[in-house]
Each structure stands twice: as structure tokens, then as C-alpha cells.
Amino acid sequence: MERFIERNIKWLFPLPAAVFIVSMMAFPVAYTIWVSLTDWSMTSSSAVQFVGLKNYIALFNDPRFFNAVKLTLYFTGLAVSVETVLGVGIALILNREFKGKNFVKGILLLPMVATPVAIGLAWTLFYEPTIGLGNYALQLLGLPASKWLASNTSVIPALAIVDIWEWTPMVALIVLAGLAALPHDPYEAAMVDGANTWQVFRYITLPLLSPTILVAVVLRGIDAFKTFDIIYTMTAGGPGFASETLNIYAYNLGFGYFKFGAASSALVALLALVLGGSLLVLWMRRTWEQ
């Protein structure tokens, strides 16, 4: 027995991880892909049939699908870019020594530990057009009132603000960890070489930090792309289809119309987009590094 373990140790150690990956990740993905090739629907009583790419053809002929892709990209792009800029800024401030620094760090964690449904409810109240704090704040700033979630044009930015509120701290903490790991000497060299504060940031900090920032962007990008909880609790894709992102669209197909085959094809499209996007970013990073 012992000799068996000794000889096969390189298989035995990764075994639990392999079992986990196969059962919890590979299997659901494979299953979803299979379902997307069938006409499985709760509303029809006939047996589930293999229909090939029919669901995908229907998907690519559905204007709602393209609307969803567009909205998802819009939401993700807006939320992640603002989160990155703010997160880096906050990290730079937190990287200095000041009193109460740990307290501020603690506060930053709060939005991340709150439950999404509670966040959704709180922000829905905030965005309430007549009594909500949102319009009150705009009024104080002398700006015109907004319809927030109730208008086609402002609903995505309003949702992005919630995502930014919730996830900027995470970007800040990732970047802060990156900053702490930066070497100290190049800064002294840059000071002697005559760089001012901005030039030090532009030519030393930013390039040295870019791998960390990229990690934060990829993590946030993937997550924002799949956002469901906040959007579902606040607008459920409305008004009309104005905030129906891919995930919401797939959910509506599956649990609104019970077309599991069609919903699965939308999810496979979502997966392909996330995967493609991530690979693109990683490829960009590699070419840019050379």
C-alpha cells in the first residue's frame, strides 16, 4: 500500500482538485453546452430532442440578444473603467502614512461584505425620483433631477454607480497590495534623476504597477460582465429591455419562458465572450510586455 502511494504520488496529490474541477466546473459547462443543442422546454410535453445549432440561429436572429450584448459591454466598460481609476487613486492615498489609515481600510471593506439584495434595495430607495436621496443630492449640487432607474438612458449608468460603489474598494485593495510590493530603490533613483511627483507616478509607479492593475481589471471585468443580483433586484432588466444584460436575458429565457435550450445557448454565448475577452487582455499584456 505504502509503495503504491509512493509510486503514484504525482497522481494522488492532484486527485481531489481534479475531482472538484471535473464535477463542479467541467461538468456544468459541458451540460450547458449539451442543453443548448436541444429544444428542452418546460412548456412543451414532447420529449427533449437534439436540434443542432437551431437555438444559436434563433439567438443570432433575436434583436434582444444583440441589445443584451451591447448593454453588457456598456455596463462592464463603464463600471470597470471608473472602478479602476478610482481604485488606483484611493490606493495611492492609502499607500501614504496617515492617522486612522486602518480605520479607513476597514470602512472600505463594508460595501463588499453587504449582501447584494440589501444593496439593491437601499440603492432603489436612493434612486427613488421624488423622495430619494439621489435627486436631493443633485439638487444640492444645483443639477437637474434624474429619473435614474426609470429612464432608458440613465438606467445603465445608475446601475454602474451601484457596481462602482460596491467594488471600487476591491480594486483599491488589490492595487494597494501591489503598491506595497513595489521595490523602493527606483524611486530614489528617479528623485535623483530629477523626476517630479507626476513623472515618478507616470514613469515609475504606473508601469511597475500595471500587471497588478491588469489583474484587477480582468477580475472586475469578468465579474461585471456576469452581474446578475444587483440588476435583477433593482430593475429586472427594465424599463422595457433597457437594462436587460446577457445574464438577465438568459434568465428571462430560462425562468420566464422556460426555454432551457435557448437560455443555455445565451449562456454559452456569455461564456464565450468572457473567455474571449480575458484571453484578449492576457494576449495584449504579453505583446505589450515585449
Binding site: 530603490d185 533613483a189 535623483v192 534623476d193
Partner: protein, 360 residues
């Protein structure tokens, strides 16, 4: 107008005084070398002149201007860091070009200066590489190149040759000397290599425990060390020290131990007059001890013979004390043999037994 003046600088880190009362006036175009054992405050002194470390008290002037509270970029200095401090994300070319780009120097001029420096430093073939793809010695040369392309008023160099092999070190030493002649920049150079100090310096500053021991030109440091520490630190192999008692006899002044007795030059009588009967330390450099087969007054036993080609080092025991003697290449006694020594007393020193200060 590139004088550098350090006025009684003190640097304290929590609890430790790293540099104490550092006072140094450096003339324009002068090449100053700071030497001293590890941890004596050389780097700290240099970093205060660079503006990377704020002195606890005292003032610094560069080119007649008080720079005590100015950031490094307002001091017109270039520095070679002990640990290179290269920009890890830039290739060698950009590392060297960075300061010139910041100054807005014309692209062609940058290219000319970087390539020229790379040529001098023998790193032209590595211009495209990142620092992590270079050896320690190559990085050190890039750090040197980054400083010389700037043609600054003052060069600060913190052990810039410490990671080079012996041959390259000699070569770079002459390059730095040539560069100093050409650019005429005031240079403050930290090292613990005494050959670098002796060969390159206009004046040497010897430090110990954060305190300057002596400031003088190399020959003076060698011939007239201010104290026993300087005497032992400069010179290879180091000076021999022999504890003795000073005695006045009819035939003049004598330094005596159990069996040994050395007569002192009559001229020293006045300076030693307060110390008759006291313990003192005799210091004699290895080359100022002359060995002979027999006949001299001091009998010593040869313990080890080290032929070095151009000379021979003898480790001998004289009256219970180990001494090193530098003899000619042809003089190679057997180990265990008894020889006799004579000291060239005109080049010997007498130090205070407790404080180590030079008496003669």
C-alpha cells in the same frame, strides 16, 4: 562653482547616531574618497548630500547654495547607488536616457550621450536588455552609465565598482579617473577598497562609527595617520602594532617589552617627554621592518613565509607578538628559522595606548 560644503552634519536614526559632526569642505573639481569599515556611515553621509536622507542637524551647500531642505532634483547631482537602483521595467538604454528625457534634452543628443557612455563602460551590446537579464557587474556599469550621461555638477558614487572582477575594476578605475579629468565634476566616492582610495582620491576621508577620523591627501594619510585606526585601516598588509613601555635611559629613549628594546630617534624626545614610564603603542609598517639572517638586536622566529612574486611576506613572532614583515622577493628564510629584525624608526609611529591618537 561646484563646491560642496557639509557643515557639521548629524544623522540620527531612532536611537542610533549614524553620522556625527560630519564637517567637510570640498573644492570645485575635487575627487573626495570616503573610506571606512562597513556600517560606519559612508552611505548615510552620501545620501544626505544627495537629499535622499534628511540630516538631523547641520547644513549642506552645493555651489554656494544652501540645499539642506531641497529635494534631490534641485541639487544637480548624479548618484550611483550601492544596490544599483535600476528601473526594472526599462531596458538599459532607457535607464540611462531617463534623466535626459525628463530634462527635455534633444533625442539625437540623448542617443549620442547614451551610446558614448555605453562604449566607455563596455555595455553597448546590452542596450536592449532589461536589468534582470544582466549580471551584477553589468548592472553596476549601467548604474554608472546612468550617472555619467547627465554630466552633473556633482557625482556621488556609492561603491560603484564593488561587484566587478579585479581586472574590470582596474579598468573602470582608470575610466572613472579619465572621466573626472574630462568632465571636471566634483566627485564624492565611497569605497572600502583602499587601493581605490589611494589611487583616485585628491583627498581621503576616513570614517569610523559615524565620525570622521582624518581628512588628508593619500600620501599624508599613509605617512602621517592621525590615529591608530587610520594607520591600521590604510595599508596592506596592515601596520604592525606593538605594546611597549617608554623608558628614558642614559643612551636616550627606549621602547621596551620583556626581551625587546628599541631605541628611538633623539628628535622625538620633546614630544614624548610627558610619557616616560607609560605604556604606548609602537606602529611599524611591514615594509619598514628590515629582516636580516643574523647580527641585529631583535631576534624573531619565522612562522609562515608567503612568497608573492614581487615580494615576500614573513609572519614572524617577536617577543610574544606576531608581526608581518615585507621582504624582497629573494629573501625566503625557512619556516622555524630565527632571523633578526631592525625597524626603520624614522618611519615608525607611536600611539597613545588608551585613545590611539598619534603621538609621533
Amino acid at each position: 562653482m561646484k563646491k560642496v560644503v557639509c557643515e557639521h552634519i548629524v544623522k540620527r536614526f531612532e536611537g542610533v547616531t549614524a553620522v556625527n559632526d560630519f564637517h567637510l569642505e570640498i573644492a570645485d573639481k575635487e575627487f573626495i574618497v570616503i573610506v571606512g569599515p562597513s556600517g560606519c556611515g559612508k552611505s548615510t553621509s552620501l545620501r544626505m548630500i544627495a537629499g535622499l536622507e534628511q540630516q538631523t542637524s547641520g547644513d549642506i551647500y552645493i555651489g554656494g547654495q544652501k540645499v539642506s531642505d531641497k529635494p534631490p532634483r534641485d541639487r544637480n547631482i548624479a548618484m550611483v547607488f550601492q544596490n544599483y537602483a535600476l528601473y526594472p521595467h526599462m531596458n538599459v538604454y532607457d535607464n540611462m536616457a531617463f534623466s535626459l528625457k525628463l530634462q527635455g534634452v534633444d533625442k539625437k543628443e540623448i542617443d549620442r550621450r547614451v551610446r558614448e557612455a555605453a562604449e566607455i563602460l563596455n555595455i553597448a551590446q546590452y542596450l536592449e536588455r532589461k536589468p534582470k537579464e544582466l549580471s551584477g557587474g553589468q548592472r553596476q556599469r549601467v548604474a554608472l552609465g546612468r550617472a555619467i550621461v547627465r554630466e552633473p555638477a556633482v557625482f556621488l558614487m556609492d561603491e560603484p565598482l564593488s561587484n566587478l572582477d579585479a581586472k574590470l575594476r582596474v579598468q573602470m578605475r582608470t575610466e572613472i579617473a579619465k572621466l573626472h579629468h574630462r568632465l571636471g565634476a566634483t566627485t564624492i566616492y565611497v569605497t572600502h577598497d583602499q587601493i581605490e582610495a589611494m589611487t583616485m582620491a585628491d583627498r581621503i576621508v576616513v570614517m569610523k562609527d559615524g565620525v570622521i577620523q582624518q581628512i588628508a591627501d593619500p600620501q599624508t594619510i599613509y605617512d602621517k595617520p592621525a590615529n591608530r585606526f587610520v594607520a591600521s585601516f590604510i595599508g596592506m598588509p596592515p601596520m604592525n602594532f606593538i605594546d611597549c613601555r617608554l623608558e628614558k635611559r642614559e643612551a636616550g629613549l627606549w621602547l621596551v617589552r620583556e626581551t625587546m628594546a628599541v631605541a628611538l630617534p633623539a628628535a622625538w624626545a620633546e614630544r614624548l617627554s610627558q610619557r616616560f614610564g607609560q605604556q604606548v603603542v609602537l606602529g611599524v609598517r611591514p615594509e619598514n621592518i628590515i629582516p636580516a639572517d643574523a647580527g641585529g638586536p631583535l631576534a624573531a622566529k619565522v612562522e609562515v613565509v608567503e612568497p608573492l612574486g614581487a615580494e615576500t611576506l614573513l609572519h614572524v613572532r617577536l617577543d610574544g607578538q606576531s608581526l608581518v614583515v615585507k621582504a624582497g622577493p629573494d629573501y625566503q628564510p625557512d619556516e622555524g628559522q630565527t632571523i633578526t629584525l631592525s625597524f626603520d624608526m624614522n618611519k615608525a609611529h607611536v600611539f597613545d595606548h588608551e585613545t590611539g591618537t598619534t603621538i609621533v
